[in-house]
């Protein structure tokens, strides 16, 4: 608690961890390339350097505020330093800005512009590094890396994956997997969080946009889209609409305009998952085997578990993820010549997630030797495509999703937030439909941004213990404790990205704290506005179980390595 003077004005502070936060609170956008409130303070870019009344300079990100402190953030001297630092960074950086995927969103570019770097006096003498596009999820271009370390700290400290790290030192330093391996040769789980924090184009999403455009233009191809819950709350603000607003209706419209033949809702797939997974939980509780049951909707988590905790692989739910359940059902549905009209059916899913690009390639993601989903487009790619089309998204009318897979329950929609799966399963398992019943579940501890949440609930006289974790680092910590026998659960929901899919690796960036909570709120609001709260009460789902799915539940809805092979 105290008061400090920033650029001649008194600013109060309370528990801000550093001066940088206080400065920002005072509405001064002090530049930085390596400070993220959720990562440890690294202090490498030095752009946030400030000056005190004695002319002493120090980085504001690492200095705690003290009462009576007098600092200046924008003296000519500081501006000169910042400009020079940016000039130096640019000098060691690929400068093909106009053709860079990050152009317009690149923090280096925008800061250099803001600080008035109009000339780079130094030659780029760095050796050209090969681009690594081996991964299905991300592309790494080391020539655009500024060594801020954000991706490294994300991969290591937050995600506990640590497949990329710094190597060598000095001007030879670079971010790389061990022994300069390609990403695809590592334990990378494709969560894409490195790309979320990368300020430049050094790590970007591996895109599918061009092939999709071609398919959309092809008259002999029927292109089916499914839209994941988290996508609908992350697009609006890209087109000037309020953050976190659910723009599902506009998305359906824009996709139709772009040429998608059918647009479905992945929440429908989520409803199937809830039903199957609840069943599985009950079976396991009965048999007492393979507990806790780990959710398997997050492909980054599934990979992580297989790589680092193979002893728990059996605990993973056998359910396919909503994307894959949906994919299998859609594929089955369009087998019917009446439905496919003799056209080739291409299934595209629009996801907040880069790991989904990897999930569709897994052997168990195929049925009869054919991939259930052909392409994954991330939200970010979708936004690019809309921009490219020239369609004024913000002005579009709302359209309803196509039938028969166009309705998802509220339970299916909240899958996009950490705790959503658990809440949906609770709704399925617990009796009661009314608001009080729903509120009881809502306030049981399933909601909120915390990385680890614990809930207990009663099912037929038995207490079921569940843990909800988001962020792989949190998952890692929890698994260690489960392994050590320190904690016991029946059900564990894991989402690889902290806060859940709304903050997935494929979502538009940058997303500040306000965007983050607006996205979460957006999904919960959608649930409030939905009449159907429980997955099992989705009438379309009921129809499916009675019709198309009959006798094929296991084959289409579960991770089944036998079924994946050619019949």
């Amino acid at each position: 608690m105290g008061v400090m003077t920033i650029d001649g004005r008194k600013v109060e502070f309370t528990d801000e961890p550093n001066i940088l936060t206080v400065i920002r609170k005072a509405d001064i956008d002090i530049p930085t390339l390596c400070y993220h409130s959720e990562l440890s303070v690294y202090g490498a870019c030095r752009l946030c350097t400030v000056e005190n009344d004695k002319g002493k300079t120090f980085a504001s990100c690492s200095e705690p505020p003290r009462d009576g402190m007098v600092i200046y953030t924008n003296t000519p001297r500081l501006m000169k330093y910042r400009k020079l630092i940016l000039e130096l960074l640019l000098a060691a950086h690929c400068r093909d800005c106009t053709t860079c995927i990050k152009s317009g969103e690149c923090q280096l570019q925008s800061l250099a512009h803001r600080m008035g770097v109009m000339d780079v006096r130094f030659e780029n003498t760095k050796e050209l590094q090969p681009i690594d596009d081996s991964s299905p999820a991300i592309v790494r271009d080391p020539n655009k890396c500024i060594l801020c370390g954000d991706c490294v700290r994300m991969c290591d400290n937050v995600q506990a994956v640590n497949v990329i790290d710094f190597a060598y030192r000095g001007t030879k330093a670079l971010v790389t997997p061990a022994f300069d391996k390609k990403i695809a040769e590592t334990d990378c789980v494709n969560c894409g969080q490195c790309r979320v924090v990368c300020p430049t184009g050094a790590i970007s999403i591996k895109t599918n946009m061009d092939v999709i455009w071609d398919l959309l233009a092809d008259k002999d191809t029927k292109v089916i889209a499914q839209i994941a819950p988290a996508v609908r709350v992350a697009v609006g603000d890209q087109f000037g609409l309020p953050r976190g607003e659910n723009v599902m209706g506009k998305l359906v419209n824009v996709l139709h305009r772009m040429g998608f033949d059918e647009v479905f809702d992945t929440s429908y797939g989520a409803d199937l998952t809830v039903i199957e997974e609840s069943e599985e939980l009950l079976n396991r509780l009965e048999s007492g085997e393979k507990l806790p049951l780990f959710t398997s909707c997050c492909p980054a988590w599934v990979r992580y578990c297989e790589n680092r905790y193979p002893e728990f692989a059996e605990n993973l739910s056998t359910c396919r993820s909503p994307q894959q359940m949906f994919g299998a059902v859609v594929r089955e549905y369009y087998k019917d010549p009446e439905k496919n009209l003799g056209k080739r059916v291409v299934s595209v899913s629009i996801m907040p997630c880069t790991a989904k690009k990897d999930e569709i390639l897994r052997p168990e993601s195929s049925t009869n030797g054919k991939q259930d989903i052909d392409y994954v487009l991330t939200t970010t790619e979708l936004v690019s495509m809309i921009r490219k089309s020239g369609i004024r998204f913000e002005n579009l009318e709302i359209e309803a999703s196509d039938m028969p897979f166009g309705i998802g329950s509220g339970a299916g929609v909240i899958f996009g937030v950490t705790g959503g799966v658990t809440e949906a399963v609770l709704r399925r398992l617990r009796k009661g439909h009314n608001r009080v019943d729903m509120d009881n579940i809502k306030f049981s501890g399933v909601r909120g941004e915390k990385g680890l949440k614990e809930v207990e609930f009663d099912y037929n006289g038995r207490t079921i213990r569940a843990a909800i974790v988001s962020g792989l680092g949190n998952a890692d910590a929890l698994l260690k404790r489960i392994k050590a026998g320190e904690v016991h659960y029946d059900f564990v929901e894991v989402m690889a990205c902290y806060r859940g899919c709304v903050m997935g690796g494929g979502q538009p960036v940058p997303a500040g704290p306000r965007t983050k909570s607006a996205r979460m709120k957006g999904l919960y609001d959608s649930d409030v506005n939905t009449q159907i709260k429980k997955s099992n009460e989705n009438p379309l789902v009921q129809t499916l179980y009675d019709g198309l799915l009959k006798g094929k539940e296991h084959k289409l809805l579960h991770r089944n390595f036998e079924a994946a092979k050619n019949e």
Binding site: Y168, A178, F179
Partner: protein
């Protein structure tokens, strides 16, 4: 793939230390002492054994100048280019070594795996400048001519 004896040796070395992150540097120092280089496979192996990721181990090992992932020569010659040695003309010695052994600032080890030539910032033997070491034995007050004689001696000529 390395011979199993390498992994047995690594196990033996790991057993002398604790299995935690802090032991990484001492363990790979011991391995390097054994083989005069750090076989990449063993770094990966050690990382697994002490419970850190391969990327972390690589990150640490590549940071420090002493670790080499490439096989070194039987004789590792370090030419000191500290201030005192530099002032007393250490570079001509280095250049002579390069010339004699067909090496350069990118290629440090002779093809016959007999000699590796490196520079070192300061051996702390400034009074003996210019100094070099061969497998950590200091050779004081060297000259380009003396170094050629030394090579002959080491080759057993």
């Amino acid at each position: 793939m390395l011979d199993t004896s390498y992994y047995e040796k690594a196990d033996e070395i790991i057993a002398r230390h604790t299995r935690e992150e802090r032991s990484l540097i001492p363990i790979i120092q011991d391995i390097q002492e054994e083989y005069r280089y750090l076989p990449p496979e063993l770094l990966t192996y050690v990382a697994k054994q002490i419970g850190i990721t391969e990327a972390k181990a690589y990150s640490v090992a590549s940071f420090y100048e002493n670790f080499s992932f490439e096989q070194k020569g039987k004789y590792v010659i370090k030419v000191c280019d500290g201030t005192a040695c530099h002032v007393r003309k250490s570079i001509p010695i280095l250049e002579r070594l390069y010339k004699e052994l067909g090496l350069n600032d990118k290629k440090h080890t002779s093809d016959d795996l007999y000699f590796t030539v490196e520079t070192v910032s300061c051996l702390g033997a400034c009074g003996l400048a210019p100094a070099i070491t061969v497998n950590d034995v200091v050779y004081p007050k060297m000259s380009p001519e003396k170094v050629v004689d030394l090579l002959k001696e080491l080759r057993g000529e």
